[in-house]
Symmetry: C2
Subunit: 438 residues, 2 copies
């Protein structure tokens, strides 16, 4: 957005001396995402992904290789959460990116000093990149909203407010976890439409939702809205986000105040923050609104945001059952589509959230809501793919799925593509369903 | 609940040497609530209210008057938030209560050493007692749910899930503030039923909601439910809570995911945590469910909780306009009623929240939802009192109110009463409406 310029760190000709980094689908030298990692027996601390390695920012801060704003950023990152580093703002974050890009570039004279600061990912455990201050989930995937709405209201799937209001609701911060934390099947109170009374037990309709997560680096004072032209300045970067959902709980509990226990048992994020700087080459104009759609109110409208507010990003979802993994079968792709199906931009989400003076803070996480494409094969949840469980999916083992079974592994991936730019990605966002704890 | 016994700290014959404490409606020696305060130029730290004074826990920890668990609790309270102190659990909290009660009791030989540790409330600013980890708002006031529901569905006001599910939803932690922080009138997107399109501006239907707030001292592991018989053990104590609400925003935004910007601009709590220990004499059997109401599912049912889960607590709401204050008129009582109108107990709220394995944490705040009585004059919001703005309230100045105007001060009070017990209260929970920042 306004802050991130295309500079030498995006140069497609720049390569890295780190073995394998140039060929890495997610973490070539053009990405340099921020995360928090630890090795066994060590404290969690900030790092930057490069290929299959992590550059240890705590060690880098002590190396004598940094100065000025880059040094300030790396020092602040020598902590178990990146909140203090993010709160420094875009200047130090960008200075660190430029310096690290230079240090990792092929031919860097500092290579011998930097090599000992690399940690193989295979030896590291990833943590949440920041302490989550508050978590809000939006609903900007218009095809998802249409698909879900049409299950209930075939003639009028979208509610009257949808094209005026970036609909969102509050989620639970305490249950956000990085990729690979098991998805313990929740128990819950449910009531089948034909049952006399509700019952309590392991949920039967466990689903995923493919979303983007937005990490905020900065906030506003209580009572002071954030103008849309400055909303992007609050954003540190983005991740993949899986909003695990129990559809049977959701159907029974959600009236009149919205989803609660159907969602708050776990939310999984990919552990690396792909920064706004890394995204610069992949910004695209927000697709024009279809003829007849209302013009957003002025507090949600900014010309620059309309020119740059969308992302050239492909999203995929993969499923593998325990039987598939036992047989050595590759995960099956459940869906594939572009992220362009977001009816509202990230800046519109932020500006709307703060429009009533709600205080945003460093470490806030915003979910986009489920991102589905308009076509078959591009839908971001099993609820949509199986038409609420009526059309099972066939797995290569002969198994079928309407919703997730114990042992299933669900993983999300996303890759940014653009002409004259090296593609980058998010890393892992996956979880294996574990049996309910009864 | 199970942990809190009636002991010598509740003895109605016990008085305090602190001048005026015995006559104080909220903070006699039987209360001893926990809060965080500061004087100008000093760091915020923990304190205990006694009459119109605050016992400085940071100073008490250094005084040589404490030992063992009481010392551990006071030391942990020497911080700008009480999370670490609360996390020590009920044992240290109760030990500190017993020791402080003895130190403040008439005839205490340590009086001369304790007197210098008292800070007059008039010199102190109150802060939030703890950092809010996550905030959840319930909807357990059945008369409120019925009143609001009947505005939309006169023949069928309560939804089918209400008597089976303790309905709740997530709120915003970043905008919770202690009493006296101004209520800046939010702006928002609204659409009158007869308007062609929505518009954005200062909200017109600003309302309050009278609630109880529940502070948690402890939590559970992700994925592990909290049995109802142990749910009360997680609770540190309670406060008053005002869930300020913009009804015009709420009406337009809340479908399908629930209230969002209508609520998250501010939530006010009384700054003192009235502990579970202090509440022990005021526990009452939960009123029997009306004939024909369903028996709660086993995960929500505990005999001890049914015997002790309600509170003997009177709640009041007062309004004064700027003109009333200018003329020296006393605040007008808007409503008055018992807290017994809670359909679900605090333990049921906690057990339900964690029933899917959702992780609860020290510093979590749970709102009860609006508490209204069944009769006229006992309703906990202007939406109910004025029948959604159709029946204005007359003020003694000749002014009328349907919703809150700029300059209005709204305050909540609550007092616990029981035979053979000294009454206690919460202290202030008030706010003055300030004009929108346009």
């Amino acid at each position: 957005m306004a802050l991130a310029m295309i500079d030498e760190t995006h140069d497609p000709a720049r390569t890295s001396w780190v073995p394998g980094a140039d060929a890495h689908a997610d973490f070539p030298i053009q990405n340099l995402p921020l995360g928090v990692f630890s090795r066994e027996g060590e404290d969690p601390r900030g790092g930057i992904a490069i290929g299959n390695n992590i550059l240890d920012l705590a060690a880098l801060a002590l190396s004598g290789l940094l100065e000025g704003e880059a040094m300030a950023a790396a020092s602040a990152a020598a902590a178990p959460a990146l909140n203090a580093m993010l709160a420094l703002g875009a200047g130090p974050r960008q200075a660190l990116r430029r310096r690290v890009s230079a240090l990792l570039a092929t031919g860097a004279p500092e290579r011998e000093q930097v090599e000992p600061l690399l940690v193989p990912m295979a030896e590291a455990t990833m943590h949440l990149p920041a302490h989550v201050s508050d978590y809000t989930d939006f609903y900007v995937g218009i095809h998802h909203a249409t698909n879900i709405g049409s299950l209930f209201r075939p003639d009028n799937p979208l509610l009257p407010n949808y094209k005026h209001v970036p609909i969102g609701y509050h989620g639970r911060a305490s249950t956000i976890r990085p990729s690979s934390v098991p998805v313990i099947r929740p128990q819950g109170q449910t009531k089948a439409p034909d049952a006399d009374a509700p019952s309590f037990g392991p949920v039967k309709r466990l689903d995923y939702e493919l979303e983007l997560g937005v990490w905020l680096a900065a906030g506003n004072d209580l009572g002071t809205p954030v103008p849309i032209a400055r909303a992007s300045d609050l954003v540190a970067g983005i991740t993949l986000l899986n909003d695990w959902s129990a559809r049977d709980v959701q159907a029974w509990e959600y009236q009149p105040l919205g989803p609660f226990l159907a969602k708050n048992f776990l939310t999984t994020v990919s552990p690396w923050i792909v920064t706004m700087e890394a995204l610069a080459p992949f910004r695209r104009p927000q697709p024009s609104r279809p003829e007849g759609d209302p013009q957003p109110l002025p507090y949600l409208w900014d010309e620059t945001d309309q020119r740059e507010g969308a992302l050239s990003l492909d999203l995929e979802v993969f499923l593998s059952s325990a039987a598939m993994r036992e047989k050595g079968l590759a995960p099956m792709r459940l869906s594939h589509g572009p992220a362009s199906a977001m009816y509202w931009t990230i800046a519109q989400m932020v500006a709307h959230h703060a429009s009533n003076g709600c205080q945003m803070q460093t470490g806030d996480l915003l979910g986009s809501g489920t991102i589905s494409g308009p076509e078959e094969g591009s839908q971001g949840s099993l609820m949509e793919i199986t038409r609420a469980g009526k059309q099972p999916v066939d797995l290569p083992t002969g198994e079928t799925r309407t919703f997730l079974e114990d042992g299933d592994e669900l993983s999300l991936t996303g890759h940014f593509h653009a002409e004259n730019a090296v593609s980058i990605g998010f890393g892992e966002c996956r979880g294996v369903v574990a049996p309910a704890r009864i």
